[in-house]
């Protein structure tokens, strides 16, 4: 079962127009959430190349959050729709390598939703605690051996 001591590492790709500001708001509003996520600022969720996600998992992240503007609100009109379309493909691909779908999350968090940001991080952390550490190297090796 979940190891309560396990503190997952999360890399967040945050759109600078919304979620990045939302994260800032969560901070300035002194909201409490686990210190598990480190954000990387991108101009739009549409900028998130699937290789970023794979890279993060490979480098030791237990989960990756991609957060962008709500549908219809993307600063560049439709970057988030591109992200929305890429996400299931990536999740499918990762699943084939035995990486659970729950490790990569796509969320819409606006600049005013500091509270939602804190909630998402809290929830994601708990979810990853359930899943346990990723241990990329072991998994991939095991995977390669079976092939």
């Amino acid at each position: 079962m979940a190891d309560q001591q396990f503190e997952p590492k999360i890399v967040g790709f945050l759109c600078r127009w919304c979620s990045y500001t939302g994260a800032d708001l969560a901070g300035t509003s002194r909201m409490q959430y686990p210190p598990t996520l480190t954000g990387i600022r991108v101009m739009c969720s549409g900028r998130v190349d699937p290789t970023f996600v794979v890279k993060a998992l490979k480098e030791g992240a237990d989960g990756v959050l991609i957060a962008g503007c709500h549908p219809g609100d993307c600063h560049y009109s439709e970057g988030n729709y591109k992200a929305m379309r890429r996400h299931p493909m990536l999740a499918n691909l990762l699943e084939q390598f035995g990486i659970e779908r729950g490790r990569v999350r796509l969320e819409w968090i606006s600049a005013s939703e500091g509270e939602l940001f804190a909630e998402v991080v809290t929830d994601f952390t708990e979810q990853l605690q359930e899943l346990g550490p990723l241990n990329w190297n072991q998994r991939i090796e095991a995977d390669c051996e079976t092939v």
């Binding site: 500001t21 900028r47 190349d49 480098e59 560049y76 550490p133």
Partner: protein, 590 residues
């Protein structure tokens, strides 16, 4: 042009003018009762008499109908003119002894009374109503009937007219105010509610929206203007000296190139109808804050008198704070200005009436410079402050003194009792809420909204007038509830911000645009499909895609989607992001 002489002065007028028009050009005053700029001359009242001098003597004519002719010599103030006009007025005074315009005109002629027997009529038979209805409204619903002393204005057969549209034009032109529309038609006139007066007064189809409107010119309401609806009337065109009325004008969309935008779309007052227990829209004397603003204003529908629907002065007034604000069911935010404007209302009621005033508040928020002092002053004026939000407004009385009153029920949280306050007038101090179209406006200017729906500033402390988009500024209540001083301050700051951008004359593009490496591009054109700004073009000759830097907004979507790694984004390069990832995850177990 025709040249004629009036009272010794020579004047030139256009062919087809009347002597009256020529005299008015010389600014010679001739009294008139039955003439109207928009209507054809008629010659009914005969007060506009003038003396025409011919070669074989002189004679009297009604100047409103007599055509100006070359060489004509006219006298408007001769003894004969004045004597005859006096008799005309004396006869009119006999017919209509109580009619104000007649009495005034008679008095001007030095007539206090009439020597003829008085009849007490109120119609002077000028025929203005008949003519406006026939000539302008094309209805012909009222006419003269009978002859001689029996002459009167009536609808045919003394019955309600079938063709009257109840437009009320007859009422408007009647100089004595004697038209009774209910005798002409069974149709109810439909007054056009004045938007500015919150529907508490009516306005015409052509109107100046409000006294300080910019531009301060009248507009025609195309939904009610008879001329625009069916081609009749056109009275305003006949009236306008500047010839400024153009019925063919169409709505146009004008595109303006600008270098910066200040969004100042303000707020919407909470619709008190949404909380039906306060009886707004049900009880006559439950007013919204904006309605009270109009009632208490000197240029408002009651000319500043604080009175009830029936015209009586209220004996007790309750002002309910926080309607729709600080309320989890409606808006959680504090509207900031309502406490203060409620205090202003209390002060105004005290100033203008002898009423007892009750302010029911949750907390008193006198937040600005001089505001606490104003609160103290209002306390000193004897206004009752009850700490507790009103629960209910009802007309169901429980005691004799509540009879016929509106009863405000509230818990007084300081005394710990429930109180019933019988009052005559209730004012609902509604919340300032975001404009209903703020989501659309936000989308146009790429503005986000804060919780509660007001536009989001770039930084609450360090950049309160900037938005997330460069060159777009926020000012006033669209960014959050605020009062006039704060709105003005923010507006000035936004203007300064905009000016400093415009002054530079050029915009600095953020160095984050995308670029496509020629050698790597396979010409698949996926990036072209990805780009929301059509910033990428296909170069057929080279079989590659090329980014136009000026159009690129730097979202990076094309970069993420490029299968050959040819597209890259300056300062958000893959390598940079990889390094960030590595940095974040240094020391992690893999």
């Amino acid at each position: 042009m025709i040249s004629l002489t009036i009272d010794g002065q020579v004047v030139e007028v256009e062919d087809g003018s009347t002597v009256l028009q020529a005299a008015r050009k010389l600014e010679i005053q001739i009294p008139t009762l039955c003439t109207h700029k928009a209507l054809l001359p008629y010659g009914a009242c005969r007060v506009c008499l003038v003396e025409i001098e011919g070669s074989r003597g002189s004679w009297l004519e009604t100047s409103c109908t007599f055509p100006a002719q070359e060489g004509l010599v006219v006298n408007t103030t001769s003894d004969r003119v004045l004597r005859t006009r006096k008799i005309v007025l004396e006869l009119m005074l006999a017919r209509c002894p109580e009619v104000e315009v007649v009495k005034e005109l008679a008095a001007e002629m030095g007539l206090e009374d009439t020597r003829f027997p008085k009849k007490g009529e109120d119609c002077i038979l000028c025929g203005l109503c008949v003519r406006v209805c026939g000539e302008k409204m094309n209805a012909g619903a009222v006419h003269f009937v009978n002859r001689g002393t029996g002459k009167a204005v009536e609808p045919p057969y003394d019955r309600h007219s079938a063709v009257c549209m109840a437009c009320g034009a007859c009422e408007v032109v009647c100089p004595t105010g004697c038209v009774d529309l209910s005798k002409i038609t069974t149709h109810q006139p439909r007054p056009i509610p004045s938007e500015f007066d919150e529907g508490l007064s009516s306005r015409g189809s052509i109107y100046v929206p409000f006294a300080q409107a910019v531009p301060n010119t009248p507009v025609i309401d195309k939904d009610t203007c008879i001329r625009l609806l069916n081609g009749d009337c056109g009275a305003c065109q006949a009236f306008c000296e500047a010839d400024a009325i153009d019925y063919d004008q169409e709505d146009t969309i004008e595109e303006v190139d600008v270098g910066a935008v200040i969004v100042a779309t303000g707020f919407k007052l909470f619709d008190s109808k949404l909380i039906n227990r306060y009886g707004y829209g049900k009880f006559d004397n439950v007013l919204s804050a904006m309605e009270f603003e109009r009632i208490s204003h000197a240029s408002g529908p009651t000319l500043g008198k604080v009175i009830m629907k029936d015209g009586r002065s209220p004996q007790a007034v309750a002002i309910l704070h926080c309607i729709g604000s600080r309320d989890e069911n409606y808006h959680e935010h504090c509207s900031r200005v309502c406490c203060m404007y409620s205090l202003k209302f209390a002060h105004l009621v005290k100033e203008k009436t002898d009423a007892e005033v009750y302010n029911l508040y949750i907390d008193m928020r006198a937040f600005g410079k001089g505001y606490e002092e104003f609160y103290k002053r209002v306390l000193g004026e004897g206004v009752h402050f009850i700490r507790g939000k009103a629960a209910d407004v009802t007309d169901v009385s429980e005691t004799p003194e509540e009879k016929g009153k509106l009863i405000v029920v509230a818990e007084d949280t300081l005394l710990g009792v429930t109180r019933r306050l019988p009052v005559d007038m209730v004012i609902l101090s509604g919340a300032l809420t975001p404009s209903p179209d703020s989501a659309d406006v936000g989308r146009v200017f790429s503005l986000g909204c804060s919780q509660g729906g007001f536009f989001l500033e770039r930084h609450p402390k360090l950049a309160p007038v900037d938005s997330m988009s460069d060159g777009i500024f926020l000012a006033g209540a669209c960014q959050g509830p605020k009062d006039i001083p704060d709105s003005v301050a923010q507006g000035a700051a936004a203007a300064a911000g905009a000016l400093s951008l415009i002054d530079k004359g050029k915009v600095v593009i953020e160095p984050i645009t995308a670029e496509i490496i020629e050698d790597r591009c396979a010409g698949c054109q996926l990036c072209i499909a990805n780009c929301p700004y059509a910033a990428i073009e296909y170069d057929k000759e080279k079989n590659i895609s090329v980014v136009t830097e000026e159009l690129c907004k730097g979202c990076g979507t094309c970069v993420a989607g490029c299968p050959s790694g040819a597209a890259h984004q300056k300062n958000f390069e893959d390598e940079q992001i990889f390094s960030e990832i590595e940095g974040i995850l240094t020391g992690s177990e893999v």
